[in-house]
């Protein structure tokens, strides 16, 4: 059935996500890191953490670069070697990958991986411009394309090829808001109705306001250890048993098809193969629902359903808690929020809670296998990790 542990999560932390007025990225990361420290009293962070990898998308938000040492300093673990990883909205999933490389190379036994973004203090127009930097400037942005516009073109192609409906996209928003309402750390803890979702203003047709994820402040982190050491630090580790990452053109127009994301699909295939499991064995998944259509595409790219059946999958309730696979129990990027650099490790934080039975009102009973699917930009980066209860 499931593969052997590649690396183990011995602790995890996440700041409250939201509009965190008066707090900057480094302070939010302290919130996440100290939670991880407190969950793992056997760990001496100054002594035991041998490397730090922090995902962050852009310097523009805080006018601050050199993220690695900044965070290392603020969380009290200098002179640890510290790195920033960047893969747009997939930045901290690539930090997890770097942590795996570091531990499997034998150069470090225990590492911290995480991510952070402080966004809400800037004007929406500025944030939109910074986010757009993850898409192709030279041909797509130059011709008026926006980030929602690019995912809208994925939606239009999906609707045309498979008959996917705007109502089915709205169902993703309603589901993720429902899940987010059960998560005390989510940005927007409120239910929405189908009518609200469908009547919200158009951002880039066919995508409306409620099809889009939130501009959010937040930070998240994991402490990863060599599997042999995990039990020394915790009775309830969570193992990563499969991991994959792939790249693709950052320009959508250069691809041969627009209804799936090649990098997400390739990452998933690599992770499933390593884990030795089938998609049907996944109990709980956090997927990259930056726009509702992206979650529908993710169902298909991850093999939860066949290509073209993603719309029906949400309509039949297969992806809600109690369905075939509970997707985005945290509320997802849609309702928990999307502080871009923090999203990848925040997805893993949710899976860590689920597989250690700490997800409270949104707990998926008896969840054994979890999956995270983090996409950078429009799928230029795709990272999939598969987790098993320790």
């Amino acid at each position: 059935m499931s593969g052997k542990p590649l690396i183990s999560i011995i602790s995890a932390g996440m700041s409250k996500f939201g509009k965190r007025d008066g707090l900057f990225g480094r302070e939010l990361f302290v919130e996440a890191a100290t939670e991880a420290y407190e969950r793992c009293p056997n760990l001496d962070p100054k002594r035991d953490i041998k490397a730090l990898f922090v995902g962050m998308m852009g310097e523009s938000y805080e006018h601050q670069g050199h993220t690695g040492p900044t965070i290392a300093d603020w969380i009290g673990i200098t002179p640890v070697q510290a790195f920033r990883t960047e893969g747009a909205c997939g930045s901290s999933a690539t930090a997890i990958r770097c942590g795996i490389f570091a531990v499997l190379s034998g150069l470090a036994d225990i590492v911290m991986v995480g991510g952070v973004e402080k966004m809400t203090h800037r004007a929406t127009a500025d944030v939109t411009e910074y986010l757009a930097m993850a898409s192709d400037f030279f041909f797509e942005q130059w011709n008026g394309l926006t980030f929602p516009g690019l995912f809208a073109m994925v939606a239009t192609a999906h609707m045309h090829k498979y008959g996917t409906k705007e109502e089915q996209m709205a169902m993703v928003a309603v589901k993720n808001h429902h899940h987010g309402a059960l998560n005390p750390k989510a940005h927007m803890q409120k239910e929405i109705t189908m009518e609200q979702a469908l009547s919200s203003r158009v951002v880039a047709w066919p995508l409306k306001l409620y099809d889009c994820s939130l501009i959010t402040d937040g930070a998240s982190c994991l402490i990863l250890a060599k599997p042999e050491l995990a039990k020394k630090y915790t009775d309830t580790p969570v193992h990563i048993i499969g991991s994959g990452q792939a790249s693709d053109t950052i320009g959508l127009f250069e691809r041969d098809q627009f209804t799936s994301l090649n990098a997400g699909k390739a990452a998933a295939q690599e992770a499933y193969k390593m884990a030795g499991i089938d998609p049907s064995e996944v109990d709980v998944a956090e997927v990259h629902d930056c726009f509702t259509i992206a979650e529908i595409v993710a169902y298909e790219d991850l093999g939860f359903c066949k290509p073209g059946e993603g719309g029906r999958f949400i309509e039949e309730g297969q992806s809600q808690i109690g369905g075939k696979v509970a997707v985005c129990t945290s509320g997802g990027l849609k309702s928990k929020g999307h502080p871009v650099g923090a999203t990848g490790t925040a997805q893993a934080y949710e899976i860590y809670l689920q597989l250690t039975e700490q997800a409270e009102r949104r707990q998926v009973k008896g969840a054994e296998i979890g999956l995270t699917h983090n996409i950078g930009g429009l799928g230029g980066t795709g990272v999939v990790n598969i987790f098993r209860r320790g």
């Binding site: 127009a125 939109t128 411009e129 757009a132 030279f138 041909f139 797509e140 130059w142 011709n143 008026g144 394309l145 926006t146 929602p148 516009g149 690019l150 809208a152 073109m153 994925v154 939606a155 239009t156 192609a157 045309h160 203003r201 158009v202 951002v203 880039a204 047709w205 066919p206 995508l207 320009g251 959508l252 127009f253 250069e254 691809r255 627009f258």
Partner: protein, 132 residues
């Protein structure tokens, strides 16, 4: 521009756009045409390339109508943008003009046209767009 001596760069792609041409880099080894051009063929990694003019007709593969946009495009909003497959198979993104939005359909035939772009500082590239 005399094509023989022109490097396969983005700047030169836009210089050709200014002349009303959509130029790509055809690989002498595998025949693949890369539009816009790159200095190396992404399919076979050959650097032996020849400039190739692309047809100006194609069909619409996908599109969106953008309502929320950066300040510079505000006067045009809501505007349509799509990806067109040219008759030789190359893809190009661009705005779709000269047709009511509700009449735009995937698969429809579109033709490339050109316009000067007014902008300050870098970059100073022209644009191409699509029309019925």
């Amino acid at each position: 521009m005399t094509e023989e001596t022109v490097a396969f760069t983005i700047e030169n792609f836009y210089k050709f756009v200014k002349e009303g041409k959509i130029m790509g880099a055809q690989c002498n080894k595998c025949g693949h045409v890369t539009v816009p051009p790159r200095p190396v063929c992404p399919k076979c990694l050959s650097k032996h390339l020849t400039w190739k003019e692309n047809p100006k007709q194609g069909k619409l593969l996908t599109y969106t109508i953008i309502h929320v946009c950066p300040e510079q495009f505000q006067p045009l909003a809501p505007y349509a943008v799509g990806v067109v497959e040219l008759e030789n198979g190359a893809h190009l993104p661009g705005m779709i003009k000269g047709i009511p939005h509700e009449k735009i359909k995937i698969g429809m035939r579109l033709t490339i046209d050109f316009e000067e772009a007014k902008s300050e500082g870098w970059p100073q590239w022209p644009r191409c767009y699509f029309k019925p």
